[in-house]
């Protein structure tokens, strides 16, 4: 199959949309996505083994913890047999995997409710928060970066370069508490804690997203500057295209590839930071669910939540790779 190589998107924007090439590109992308989807179960298997092993390194006897403080030795032994904890490790993993495939992650020692139920309750809240935080970082950061690239050494430019270091230095929980103090307690514009309306979402999402605004802006800016100095931008201008068209179609599309990479990495980072923001704003998400479980060593909850976090990270990486192919047909993954 002739692979579409060395073709710049911006040389001819219509390239990827020409019927012939579109079919070819779709076929190439199709096989790539197919190959990734085949390796996906292998990766998930690896993740499940890792999570299983990590949880077996946790000190303490899960059977005794499940039995509670008043249990007799016989009760503990009975629980050990019921959970299969007396079997060899490989056999235990087999049982774990079999249950996992059936969508059974065990149950909480504390509430006796299935872990899947807890995750189903809390994961949407975390996802909502992370996506909102990501949107704030993007919606503020990317245009700011484009603007400062188009006006080098202007006010926005200087602001972006100097503010980025503030973003990476600010502890999320302190920022969250400050925002809560100002906008909820003093001004009373939004409710301080909890989840419900879109007004509840504003402060947690800002806390999560704001530290990344300047970083995104800086990244967009440097990539835009690189692309803007290329020949095809001059060509596009010489053909008589207006600046907005050149920036949006020719420059931005080429500058967006490294940005997507970082977006993918940062999405994972935001997901990891969610536990802290959820604690500050009493947001009923999965990060808090996990940390609470860690406090009381609720093994199956810890195991389940870590697994879901890990799978999310794998899924995000897959999504990033697929998005690459869409924005840049040069990438053929052969």
């Amino acid at each position: 199959m002739a692979e579409p190589k060395f073709v710049r998107v911006s040389d001819d924007f219509g390239w990827a949309l020409a019927p012939d090439n579109l079919a070819r590109a779709t076929a190439v992308m199709g096989t790539y996505i197919l190959r990734r989807l085949v390796t996906l179960p292998l990766m998930l298997l690896g993740v499940s083994i890792a999570v299983f092993l990590v949880l077996h390194m946790i000190p303490g006897d899960p059977a005794r913890m499940a039995a509670g403080p008043d249990a007799t030795e016989r009760d503990v032994q009975q629980i050990r047999i019921n959970y299969g904890l007396d079997r060899p490790l490989t056999e235990q993993y087999g049982i774990y995997l079999k249950k996992l495939v059936q969508g059974d992650l065990g149950e909480s020692f504390q509430t006796l409710a299935p872990v899947t139920e807890g995750i189903a309750r809390t994961f949407p809240a975390t996802l909502e928060l992370t996506i909102a935080g990501m949107l704030i970082a993007m919606v503020l950061g990317v245009p700011l970066g484009i603007y400062s690239a188009l006006h080098p050494r202007g006010a926005a430019d200087r602001l972006v370069t100097s503010v980025a270091v503030l973003g990476i230095s600010m502890p999320g929980f302190f920022l969250g508490l400050l925002l809560m103090l100002v906008f909820a307690s003093w001004l009373g514009w939004v409710p301080p804690t909890g989840r419900g309306t879109w007004r509840h979402l504003i402060l947690p999402a800002l806390t999560l997203g704001l530290p990344y605004v300047a970083a995104f802006a800086r990244l967009t800016r440097s990539n835009m500057l690189d692309v803007l100095s290329e020949d095809f931008i001059r060509t596009a201008r010489a053909k008589g295209l207006s600046w907005p068209k050149v920036t949006s179609r020719h420059a931005m599309r080429n500058a967006s590839i490294p940005i997507v990479t970082v977006l993918g990495l940062d999405f994972g980072r935001l997901l990891g930071g969610a536990a802290i923001v959820e604690t500050v704003f009493a947001w009923p998400g999965m990060g808090r669910y996990m940390v609470d479980a860690i406090m009381i060593r609720d093994i199956y909850v810890i195991q389940g939540t870590i697994l879901v976090f890990a799978v999310s990270v794998v899924a995000i990486n897959l999504a990033v790779d697929v998005i690459y192919g869409i924005i840049d047909p040069r990438i053929t993954y052969s």
Binding site: P59, V165, L166, S169, P171, M180, L271, G273
Partner: protein
Amino acid sequence: MKTIGFLWYLLRRKNYITLVAAFVTITFVLAAVCAPLLYDWDTATRVSLSSALLSPSTIHPLGTDELGRDLLARIVWGARITLVVALVSVTIAMVLGILIGSLCGYYENWFTGGVMRFMDFMIAFPRTLLAIIVVTVLGSGVLSLTLAIGISTIPANVRLFRGPVLALKRRQFTVAAKALGARDLSVLFSHILPNMMSLVIIQGTLSLAEAILIGSGLSFLGLGPQPPTPEWGAMIAASRSHITSHPHVIFAPGITLFAVILAFNLVGDALRDYVDPRSRKAI
């Protein structure tokens, strides 16, 4: 001597913000080292409800917290814990990162390739989450917090330090050393690594900032040192219900934390320019 040279460089370049940052880091280290001379442990941890939530005064320069403990005493002792956790964790991450990274860069085969693939996978994983998992396994406390931060930084360091080794091992002086009969390890340690020292210093400074940030976050979640140990993140977590009525209990440790992290980041950035003038404000 080198510190003074660096400070003089900042002064000459009129980089006053970083100069202030350098003094913040020096004050932080001094406070951490001198904590037992300034306040005894008892002042920082003894509960006295009669003096709870006092505003700043001459006796308590930063006021007291909800259990009547002097905030300045707690912040000074907190600096000691923060510095120890950050220094030890960064040392772990740097030593292992440099070791694995340089070996993976020097020997390119299927095994080191596999190690790098694994590291790439770990880097995709959020660091806070990695650290939380390590704390889960080791239990909460100062030691496991330190290990958690250290271990979760290793993958990024491995990748960072592998790059220069890959480039340096093809340079003429390395090839010459090998031609003269130097052993692999001696080439690595006496010819390649000394050429990476500036990177090590810069990365070390920036890692300190990140270690303090992540450590305080884990402590805020309750996964770090347990009360009454004065850790800045844990202090904020414990006092946060009083934020509306007595904001100073949050502001005192919060601003200190932010200032110290910011200072290390600024100093790290300036060190990069100082050590390598070519990268001076690249963008």
